[in-house]
């Protein structure tokens, strides 16, 4: 942790900006109930009220305070994206490391399964599975985590495969260490940097993906506040020349940009390029 903080002192302005934005979003997400002037689903006035002292960003299509929903939205949108990414990383990462270390038929079976799942574009596969399972926040998390797990599996497997060929892993094998030891003590410490960068990229992807699904009305279900469905619900205002429905979308874009900037720098750092 201290090393990471020390690294940030040498970070370029872009990565520092990204880190500042991520921290700010985290604070808003955690403190949403304190910061928000009204409740998440509380109806406080007429529909589509203009910006005013009571409602800084006006009210939405059901008369709820937009600012409050924006703050609570940080909680739901980012929280669900983190849960999904962690789930995907644990499942995909573990299976990938096991497949790459064990090799043999386990590797073959998992590899071919992932090939087939990756041959279908993720949005299309998600739509298919949502049609079968029914739209709910829970099934969305499960489906996206499974799809993202295939991407993380690929990378983790390739890393474990490459590291597994190095002498110190052979030495551990010959010593008679078990699979768990080899994965956690030999392989994982050497695969950390690329896996963390991948986690950041995957988070961006999941976050945008959930926002898109919610925008299509198939993601996070009402009345929970989330940025994708907020755009969808209030989009009619845009044709009257109002920009406020785009604020949640801009919030999505800013966070994605920030994480991308950090990941860019991490990848650059890990690759050892000094260009």
């Amino acid at each position: 942790m201290a090393r990471t903080l020390g690294l940030f002192k040498t970070a370029p302005p872009s990565a520092r900006f990204g880190a500042a934005v991520v921290v700010a979003y985290g604070v808003v997400a955690v403190l949403a109930p304190i910061l928000a002037p009204y409740g998440e689903t509380q109806v406080v006035g007429v529909e589509f009220a203009a910006w005013s002292a009571q409602h800084w960003l006006g009210t939405d299509d059901l008369g709820r305070d937009v600012l409050s929903r924006l703050l609570y939205g940080a909680r739901n949108t980012i929280g669900i994206a983190i849960i999904t990414t962690v789930l995907a990383a644990v499942v995909g990462g573990t299976l990938g490391l096991v497949a790459g270390t064990l090799r043999g038929w386990v590797d073959q079976v998992l590899g071919r399964l992932v090939d087939v799942l990756m041959a279908v574009p993720s949005l299309i596969l998600t739509l298919l599975l949502l049609a079968i399972l029914g739209t709910s926040t829970f099934s969305m998390i499960a489906i996206i985590a499974m799809i993202e797990a295939t991407r993380i599996f690929r990378l983790a497997r390739a890393l474990a495969y490459a590291i597994g060929a190095v002498d110190f892993v052979t030495a551990a094998r010959v010593r008679g260490e078990g699979l768990v030891w080899i994965i956690f003590r030999e392989v994982l410490p050497n695969a950390g940097a690329p896996l963390i960068a991948e986690f950041g990229l995957r988070f961006c992807f999941v976050f945008l993906f959930i926002a898109t699904l919610s925008f299509l009305g198939l993601g996070i279900q009402p009345p929970a506040a989330d940025w994708g469905s907020m755009v969808r619900d209030n989009a009619t205002l845009i044709s009257y020349g109002q920009m406020s429905p785009l604020i949640p979308a801009a919030a999505i874009a800013l966070l994605t940009l920030a994480v991308n900037l950090i990941v860019d720098w991490l990848v650059h750092q890990a690759s050892g390029l000094r260009e």
Binding site: D115, V116, L117, A119, V120, P121, L123, I124, L125, L127, L128, L129, L130, A131, I132, L133, G134, T135, C204, L208, A211, T212, F215, L216, G217, L218, G228, V231, A235, I238, S239, Y240, G241, M243, P245, L246, A249, A250, I252, A253, L254, T256, L257, N260, L261, D264, E275
Partner: protein
């Protein structure tokens, strides 16, 4: 030479195999996952007899292998089954919409490919100079924007403020071409912004990668004009990766249309699929999924074949 042929043949065989595997996933996922479609269609009101009737109508009471073979052979003959919601044949509903989607995607491809390859070459030429930095920042920015934000920003700028293009792209089979082009201007701009960023970045990366090789150094030392070094010496060797990036982005376009079609209420296959998901019209979703996946797999295959063909060593 036989090596070359066998490489292409094995790639083709792999493509066909992938298609078959994906069709199986699309078909069997309905049975593997919890939830009975017949039960769900009827909801609380479904008596056991009514559920059994629907199951029979859908053919759900036959063995699963038999149903898969019947489904696949139907599709190969152009019969995708019937929609649960409207009862109409899916082939009839989907054909016009598929054509609309292909029109939108090709229009976007015609605009975005020359634009992004051009920008990528410019960025590689002026690398680490202001023009490159500007292109780099702009593309990073465009990648971070969700498609629906790009779409609404364009609607705000060009429909509400400039009153220059319509925000609804409702077209029919008999819409004349000029009107069709005018109505799809904003969807195409949205798609272009979404895919051009990736293509530009990867084109630049492919050329910069080649620029590090000694023969480029040689060309420079000979005193060739920098543009000539890029266009005549670097570009041909970067062509393989660029072509495959372009084709892969075409594959992405096919999927990217889903969101854009919903925003602009464009009557394409993507919108049909999203609507059918909300209605839980599983046969229509399966059919659209298979069409999208088949297009995607075919384009991926084309990308692989093109990069093999672009490499004179093979």
């Amino acid at each position: 030479m036989p090596d070359f042929t066998s490489m292409i043949l094995s790639r083709l065989a792999l493509g066909v195999l992938t298609l078959v595997a994906v069709s199986a996933v699309v078909f069997f996922s309905m049975d593997l996952l919890p939830g009975d479609v017949a039960q769900q269609m009827l909801g609380q009101a479904g008596t056991p007899e009514a559920v059994a009737n629907i199951r029979h109508d859908l053919g759900l009471d036959r063995p699963i292998g038999q149903r898969y073979v019947a489904w696949m052979s139907g599709i190969l003959h152009g019969d995708f089954g019937r929609s649960l919601a409207s009862g109409r044949p899916i082939a009839e509903i989907a054909t016009g919409r598929l054509l609309n989607t292909l029109f939108l995607a090709s229009f976007a491809a015609v605009v975005s490919i020359p634009l992004s390859v051009g920008l990528g070459i410019v960025a590689a030429f002026y690398r680490r100079r202001p023009a490159d930095t500007a292109i780099n920042l702009f593309t990073l920015f465009a990648i971070s924007l969700p498609e629906f934000l790009i779409a609404y920003l364009l609607i705000y700028l060009f429909t509400v403020k400039a009153r220059w293009a319509p925000s609804l792209a409702v077209v029919g089979a008999d819409t004349p071409l000029p009107e069709r082009l005018h109505k799809t201007v904003l969807p195409v701009m949205t798609l272009t912004l979404a895919v051009a960023a990736h293509m530009t970045r990867l084109t630049r990366a492919a050329i910069v990668n080649v620029l590090a090789s000694p023969y480029i150094e040689m060309a420079r030392i000979k005193g060739l004009h920098p543009w000539r070094v890029i266009v005549r010496h670097a570009l041909p060797n970067a062509l393989g990766p660029i072509v495959s990036v372009v084709v892969l982005n075409l594959a992405y376009l096919i999927v990217g249309v889903v969101v854009v079609e919903v925003v602009f209420t464009y009557p394409g296959l993507g919108q049909l699929m999203v609507d059918s998901v909300s209605k839980r019209d599983v046969p229509v979703v399966q059919a659209s999924c298979l069409i999208f996946a088949a297009t995607y797999i075919t384009l991926n295959l084309v990308a692989d074949l093109m990069s093999i063909l672009c490499d004179p060593r093979s």
